[in-house]
Structures are given as C-alpha cells and as structure tokens.
C-alpha cells in the first residue's frame, strides 16, 4: 500500500549538482597532524574544557564536558597532545574566534577504552545521558543535542518517528552515500530512537532522486527485520527541512511555537541515527562525520573526516581548481561562506563547496520589490516574505515579528525566485539578529533594574536596622546619662523617617563596613616579611589613606544626600 503523502506550500527546484560526488565510495580522510576542535559545536550550553595544556589525550577522550542538559560533550578525534586551549577561528560566517582545543596528533590513533552498552537493559534516562556524553547532536546541520529530543511529550503519545534522509540541498550527498553504504547502522540507530520514544510508526523519508539510497535502505530495513517504512518523497527543495519532511510524511505542521513531540512526532537525520548506533553499540563518541567535498574541485567525493580537521587539509583531498575564489559550508541555499581555511570541520559540517564565479555568479543588481508575490508562493512556511522585507528594511521589527518573522527557516526559496534579486534571507537574518540583540539588552536591563531595586531595599533595611541599633544604644546610654537623652530621643522616635537624621546616621554607618578592614590588614601582613609584601603593604596603606580622604571630602561636600552618600 503506497504511503499517503502530503504537500507543503511552495518550494523550488534548483539544479541539484549531486551526481559528481556519488561516483566514488566514501573515503577515509588521512589523519592530519594538527586538529582544532572547537568546544561549542552544539546548540545550547557551551561545553567546558576538561583537559589541560600539554595533556596527552586518547582518541575518543572527553575534552569538553556538557554544560547543562541541552549541551553535548566534545571528544578528541585522535590520540595526541593538547597544544593549546585558546580562541581559534570559528567555522561561522562571522569570522570570530571560539574557544578550541588544539591537538597535535601522535599518529598512533590510540583509542580510549570503549564501553559498548546494551541499551535495552538500561533506564531511558541513562541512555540519554550516555548519548549526551557521546557528544551526539543532529548531524543534518542544526546540531541540536539529540538526547534532548529523545523524550516523548507527557501529554501527547508519540505517533511517528521520522528519519530524515531527504537531503534536499544541491551538491550535498553525504546522507545519500551514508544510506547506500551503511544502511544497517541507520536502521539500528533508528531502532534505538524508536525504543526511547516508542512511536507507533517509523518513517524513513528519502527524496525520489536517490533511488540507490531508497533501495539500500529498504534492503537494510528488511535485513534487520524491522517494520520501518522507507518512503520516497517528491524532490522539491526544502523537502529535507525537518518541518517540511514531517508535514509531507504525516500531514502534521509544526509551528515555530511548538515542539514536534507535542504533536506526537519527532525527526532525526540519518547520520544522527547511525552515530547514535555507533555510540551505544561500540562506545564510539561522535568524533568523525561524513562530509561532501563538491563544487569546483577535480575529485568531488564524500569523506569520513575527523572533526577538527581544518578546511585547508580537507579541500586538498579534492584538488580545487584554479578559479576557486571561496568556500561554502553547507549547501548553496542555506550554507555560508567560510571565513578562512584555518576554520575546522565541525559537527555541523555536512558539505564543503568550492565556489567559483562561474559556478555561483554574483547576483544581478538588486531592484525594488514589485510585490509580485513570487516569494510568498515559494515560501514553504506560507509567510509573506515581501512584507517581512519591507518591515526588516525599515527596522520595523515589531511588525516583522507580528508577521511571523521567527517562523522563517531561512531556506532561501524566496530569494531564489525573487525577480528583483533582493537578498531577502539576509534581511531576515539581520532582523532576527537585531530582535535577539534587543531582547538580550532588554533582559539585561530588566535584571539590572531588579538588582538595583533589591540593593536599594537592602540598603534601606540595613540603614533602618543600623539606626535602630544606634537608637537603642543611645537610649541605653541615655538611661545611664540623663543629659544625653534630650538629643537621642528624636532619633529613636523616627528611625529613617525624615531624610536629614537618617543621612546623618548613615554617614556614620557607611564608614563602618570598611573600618574593620584597616586594622584587620595589619596582623595579616606582619606574618610575611618579603619585599613584595612590604611594598604591597605600603601601597595599601597609601590607598586607604587616599580613600579615607576622598570619603571625608565627599561626606563634607554633600552631607544631606541620603541616596548617594553610602556609595561614595
């Protein structure tokens, strides 16, 4: 019985350029001498480095531990010595540095002790933890930690698990080759996800321009005795977007405001499935992945590369042609231009394209928008890109959000069809960045305000307490000395009620916290007699003297400024 397919709106059919890189089988890239492993390769928390400079690390050893739940560990891709833990050029469009561990390979490629597990006998929670510590993230390019996607919603029962082998972007063939050559690993990995999520059905979606992969996967499913459905989906970019594939296979549309598990469906990339299988069955963490080398190179091919290999080392495998002027990571629809050849291959790297002016001619000049609506009809999320464009360009970000800017997946269909050649996606990225920036600033301002208010409250309270204590002391003294009672009484009667007396009290109080520091310094310093200590002592004494002078001057200048005097 053929599976009923659904249709998503729009999409485009760019030339696929996929045939060149699938002629040769997946090659194993030689181990480079130097690897640069960025610590933050996932969405979510930044992993913390857990090795030190000069340490010898083994292949598969954790070098960065997962920070928080949504994060994933990072491992050494080979054995060697940690030569640096420092910011290095990030594989990111910005060209900014990111904290990385530089490893000098020793050529032995010596594994750390691997611990295969029988996940079926383990609690699901520990399986998820294991996957997090194996550094498993979505290998389709989104690099969201996979373990965090492996919990079913409490409210909605899981219905479908979608395994994404659509691979809709031009040039990229790494999933195609993986499915052809390692179908069994994918099927077993999908089995792990199935056991953790317990969906009713497992659907493997592959674009129908990959008949070999479809056949290989059908065979692998049959060989494993599983009941997964391998479904050919029409070739139309972006059919491989998780939301689009889910909608094509199940008819469920997951909006940006919802999690797919809330709708009883979850989606993983084929490479993620195979890596999960390797992590559990062989105890091999995610230290390599398959990367397509395509475009303007003599030998386009797929390579299994150690993560951390630099782009420079990688492209040498394919011999770029002379007119290559830049390199893209990802496909030509959603990828970005690499900031430099020193950037490493990371978990998100699915494809490196050598680009030449002939392959990707510079876009024709930008014309004004004529509101033709082509973009709206091409948008798989049924947005109105031309409206978003007007708002983004006018920096009218509130309106852009109202028109669902954040439902944009930046697939590039709108810019692809735009007759005016407007870089629509760039406008949307810019607008999103600005909105996020403003949200950040706003949050920071909110918390600063809260802390300021809290602090003022605390000051008031301390002042009141102090005043009360002083008043009590004064009252006690007054009881002893009747002469003083006349001056003390008003202070006791109005603790911090009128500004003037309160200020007078606090001026005295302000000095209190610091004054113990002065005598406290002396006994501490007497123990040591080194030159440095003596110099330091002298400096401190001078500093304290200066501070006192300043404080006195300030107090003299504004004795009645209740709000500011404690800070001076």
């Amino acid at each position: 019985m053929p599976h009923k397919l659904f249709r998503f709106n729009g999409g485009v059919k760019p030339a696929t350029h996929k045939t060149d890189s699938v002629r040769a089988p997946i090659g194993r890239a030689p181990m480079p001498e130097r690897l640069v492993v960025p610590l933050h390769q996932n969405i979510g928390g930044k992993p913390q480095p857990c090795v030190a400079l000069g340490d010898r690390v083994l292949k598969g050893q954790v070098i960065g531990t997962a920070d928080h739940w949504v994060s994933a560990a990072v491992h050494a891709p080979t054995s060697g010595t940690v030569r640096a833990i420092e910011p290095q050029l990030a594989t990111h469009p910005s060209g900014l540095p990111t904290l990385s561990v530089v490893i000098e390979a020793d050529g032995k490629d010596e594994w750390i002790e691997r611990r295969p597990v029988d996940y079926a006998s383990m609690a699901p929670e520990s399986v998820r933890e294991l996957l997090r510590d194996a550094g498993l993230v979505g290998l389709g390019g989104a690099v969201f930690p996979s373990h965090a996607k492996l919990s079913a919603s409490k409210k909605t029962p899981m219905e479908e698990l979608v395994i994404n082998g659509a691979e809709c972007e031009p040039f990229i063939t790494c999933d195609d080759m993986l499915m052809r050559e390692r179908g069994e690993e994918i099927v077993r990995g999908a089995g792990i996800f199935r056991d953790l999520l317990e969906p009713k059905r497992v659907l493997i979606g592959i674009e129908d321009n990959k008949p070999e992969a479809i056949a290989a996967m059908r065979e692998a499913v049959a060989a494993a005795g599983e009941s997964f459905e391998v479904i050919a989906v029409p070739t139309r970019y972006p059919a491989g977007g998780a939301k689009q594939l889910i909608s094509v296979l199940t008819g469920k549309e997951v909006p940006s405001s919802k999690r797919s598990t809330d709708m009883g469906v979850q989606c993983f990339n084929v490479a993620t499935a195979s890596s999960a299988y390797r992590a559990l069955t062989f105890g091999e963490p995610l230290i390599s992945r398959i990367v397509t080398l395509a475009g303007n190179v003599e030998q386009p091919r797929n390579w299994e590369v150690p993560l951390g290999m630099t782009i420079r080392d990688f492209i040498a495998l394919g011999t770029p042609r002379a007119d290559t002027n830049r390199y893209l990571m990802g496909g030509p629809m959603m990828g970005f231009e690499l900031p430099g050849l020193d950037a490493p291959l990371i978990k998100a790297s699915n494809c490196i394209i050598a680009a030449s002016p002939k392959l990707f001619p510079p876009p024709p000049p930008e014309m004004p928008c004529i509101r033709c609506g082509s973009c709206a009809r091409a948008c798989p999320h049924e947005l109105q890109p031309f409206e978003l464009y007007w708002f983004s360009r006018a920096a009218n970000f509130g309106k852009a959000q109202e028109y669902h800017l954040f439902d944009c997946i930046e697939c590039g269909c709108c810019a692809f069809v735009c007759p005016s050649h407007i870089p629509l996606v760039q406008y949307f990225r810019y607008a999103k960045g600005e909105i996020w920036g403003r949200e950040r600033d706003k949050k920071a301002a909110e918390s600063a305000r809260a802390r300021f208010e809290f602090r003022n409250e605390r000051d008031e309270r301390e002042k009141a307490e102090k005043a009360e204590r002083l008043a009590r002391a004064a009252a006690a003294k007054a009881a002893d000395n009747p002469l003083a009672s006349a001056t003390a009484a008003p202070t006791a009667a109005s603790p911090a009620a009128t500004p003037a007396p309160a200020a007078a009290v606090t001026a005295a109080a302000a000095a209190a916290p610091t004054s113990p520091a002065v005598p406290g310094e002396a006994p501490a310093a007497t123990g040591e007699a080194s030159e440095a200590e003596r110099a330091r002592k002298a400096m401190i004494a001078a500093a304290v003297e200066r501070a006192r002078a300043q404080r006195e001057a300030a107090a003299a200048a504004r004795p009645h400024d209740a709000a500011t005097s404690p800070e001076q």
């Binding site: 970005f336 509101r371 947005l383 409206e387 028109y403």
Partner: protein
C-alpha cells in the same frame, strides 16, 4: 566587510523583473493583433508614441533622481504602462494626448512616488483617469464603426495633419447603449437595441468582441506561464458577472447581459492586465479575491450608472486605495498555524 555581501542562497533562479515585464507585453500581443485586424494598424502607431514618451519620461526622471538608467530603463515596466495606455485610449486620439497620458503616468503616477514598485496607483489607470477628466470630448471620440479611412489618413488624423471631423466619431458600444437607454427612457429595450444598432456585434461591441477575446487569450497564457495569479482576474470577472447578471435577470429589457459586459470596454484588459498589477493591487490570495470582486462590481456601477463611458479605471483606482488595508486584514494563516483563530 566583503563577506557580508555574500549570503545564501548562492544559487539563484532565473527570474527577473525584465522577464516578467516582457512576458506581460507578450501577453498583450493577441489582443493587439485582433485590434489591428478589426480596426486598424493605427494602434501600433499609438503604442509606439506611448512607448517613446514613457521611456523618455522614465529616463528623464531616473536622471533627475540619480538612479542607474540602464538598469531601470531596461526593466520593461515603462513599456507595460505605455502599451496599456495606448490600448485604453481611443485609437484616433491625437498624438499629444497619448504623449501627455504616457508622461503623466510615468512622471507623476510612477516616478514621483518613488519609481518601480513604489506607486500606490496603477500608472496607466491614473493617466487614463486624468485624461478623461481633462479631455472628456477627445476621450470619447472613438472612430465610428462605419468609418472607412485609409491608414495614411488615420496617421494624419493622429498627428493633426488632417482635421478630426465629427463624422469620424462614434461611441463605444457601452456608451451608445447607455445613451440610447437614457434618450428613450422606457421606450426601447436592450435586446432590440443590440439587434438593430450597427455598433453592436454578435453579443457585445462589433469588433470589440475579437479584441477582448485576444486579451482573454493573452491573459490565460500569462496565467499558464505563472506570471499572474487566477484570483484577481477571476474575482473581477465574477464580480462583473454577478452584478450585471443580477440586474439583467431583474430587468432584461433595461440592462445588458453579463456576456455583453464581459466583452465590452476594458473588462478583459482590466481583468488580466490591470487588476493583476502586483505593485498597486492586493497581494494576498484572499485579498486578491476581494480586490478583484469589488473592482468588478464598482466597474459595473460606474459604467452603467456613472457619467463615464467605462468604469474600470476608476474602479481600479478606488480599490488601489484600499489595497494596503485589504492586505492587512487578509494575511494568510501560516504553516502550522492554520487551525488557530
């Protein structure tokens, strides 16, 4: 900094404004061919005049505004406006009227608003409206059906070398129907008028039936080529048919049939080439339905009850005003949010 120039997508489709505009011009060809065949090749002269002055106006304004000439002159949008003006004006209109219309459309209605993509109103319709308000007599001088004038003489009339005499004039089928009904209030009925007066053909204006059929053909081709959407044209025609049908069913003797209205005046030209103008029209699918339908109804009301021979220009202009509002309230539900609200 150069990196910011380059963002995905790097691979682009082959669409361009120029291609869109050239296809629209191609869509007008069947109608023009019919025009030439039924009336006279003089329309080609008018198209040439309008095109020349449109391009002139465009070039001048681009120069003044400091915009790249080659880029914007080559986009073909001025030509589309020019051709629509030539087709909307009477074929024997003096050359200067066509020139004024073309310049008005380009300079005032398009460039002063910011040029391509910025004009809130359809420039061709603005020009038509301006002319019909300023030169009502000239604008209603359509060649009489019986006029037998050689092409050379027609050219001379257009360029003012030969006087434009009343004998040459007739009225458009819409106009003559309206005047006849008004003159003999209650005395005549539409079917007999259509049967007796020589300005009418099989079911609409004589000859016009073929020209408008040519527009229909070109429009359908544009729809097939995915240059225009079906919503606005269909809704426009539906609006026109709905209201004309209602009046016709109510009093067949006083009101012409929907078929007559479909194939008379600018109905089909408007349906496929004017309400489909993306810049000044509604852009959402539902918005285009509303836009087209309302324009159809308004066009009928103005054409039948108003003072002008045809109503499409004013109908479209009135709806142009409403387009942003229509868009605002017809935003489509997006992916994943269809069931909500």
């Amino acid at each position: 900094m150069s990196r910011y120039l380059s963002t995905s997508p790097y691979q682009l489709g082959n669409a361009s404004v120029r291609r869109v505009m050239l296809l629209v011009l191609a869509g007008l060809l069947p109608g023009i061919a019919a025009y030439v065949w039924v009336f006279s090749p003089i329309i080609l002269v008018q198209i040439a005049i309008a095109s020349a002055f449109s391009l002139l106006g465009e070039a001048l304004m681009l120069k003044v505004r400091g915009k790249p000439l080659s880029l914007f002159l080559g986009d073909g949008s001025a030509l589309v406006t020019a051709w629509l003006i030539a087709l909307a004006l009477p074929p024997l209109a003096p050359w200067w009227l066509v020139a004024v219309a073309a310049l008005f459309a380009i300079v005032i209605a398009k460039q002063l608003y910011g040029g391509l993509g910025q004009n809130p109103f359809n420039p061709a319709m603005i020009a038509f409206a301006a002319c019909i308000v300023s030169f009502p007599a000239l604008m209603s001088m359509w060649p009489s059906v019986t006029l037998k004038l050689s092409f050379i003489d027609q050219v001379q009339v257009v360029f003012g070398l030969m006087p434009h005499v009343d004998a040459m004039n007739g009225a458009t089928p819409l106009d003559s129907l309206k005047t006849s009904l008004k003159l003999n209030e209650g005395g005549v009925n539409v079917p007999s008028l259509l049967a007796t007066q020589e300005v009418f053909g099989y079911f609409a204006g004589r000859g016009w039936e073929w020209v408008t059929a040519g527009y229909l053909l070109g429009g359908l081709w544009l729809w097939w080529r995915d240059i225009i959407r079906w919503q606005a044209p269909l809704a426009f025609l539906a609006g026109l048919v709905a209201i004309s049908g209602a009046f016709w069913l109510w009093q067949p003797a006083q009101y012409a049939s929907p078929l007559f209205h479909l194939f008379s005046g600018g109905s089909l030209l408007c349906a496929f080439f004017i309400v489909t103008d993306p810049v000044s029209g509604a852009t959402t699918p539902r918005g285009q339905l509303i836009f087209g339908f309302s324009a159809g109804i308004l066009a009928y009301l103005i054409r039948v009850f108003g003072g002008y021979p045809d109503g499409v220009a004013f109908a479209v202009l009135l709806l142009n005003i409403c387009a942003p509002l229509i868009d605002r309230y017809t935003q489509p539900r997006i992916f994943g949010l269809k069931g909500t609200r």
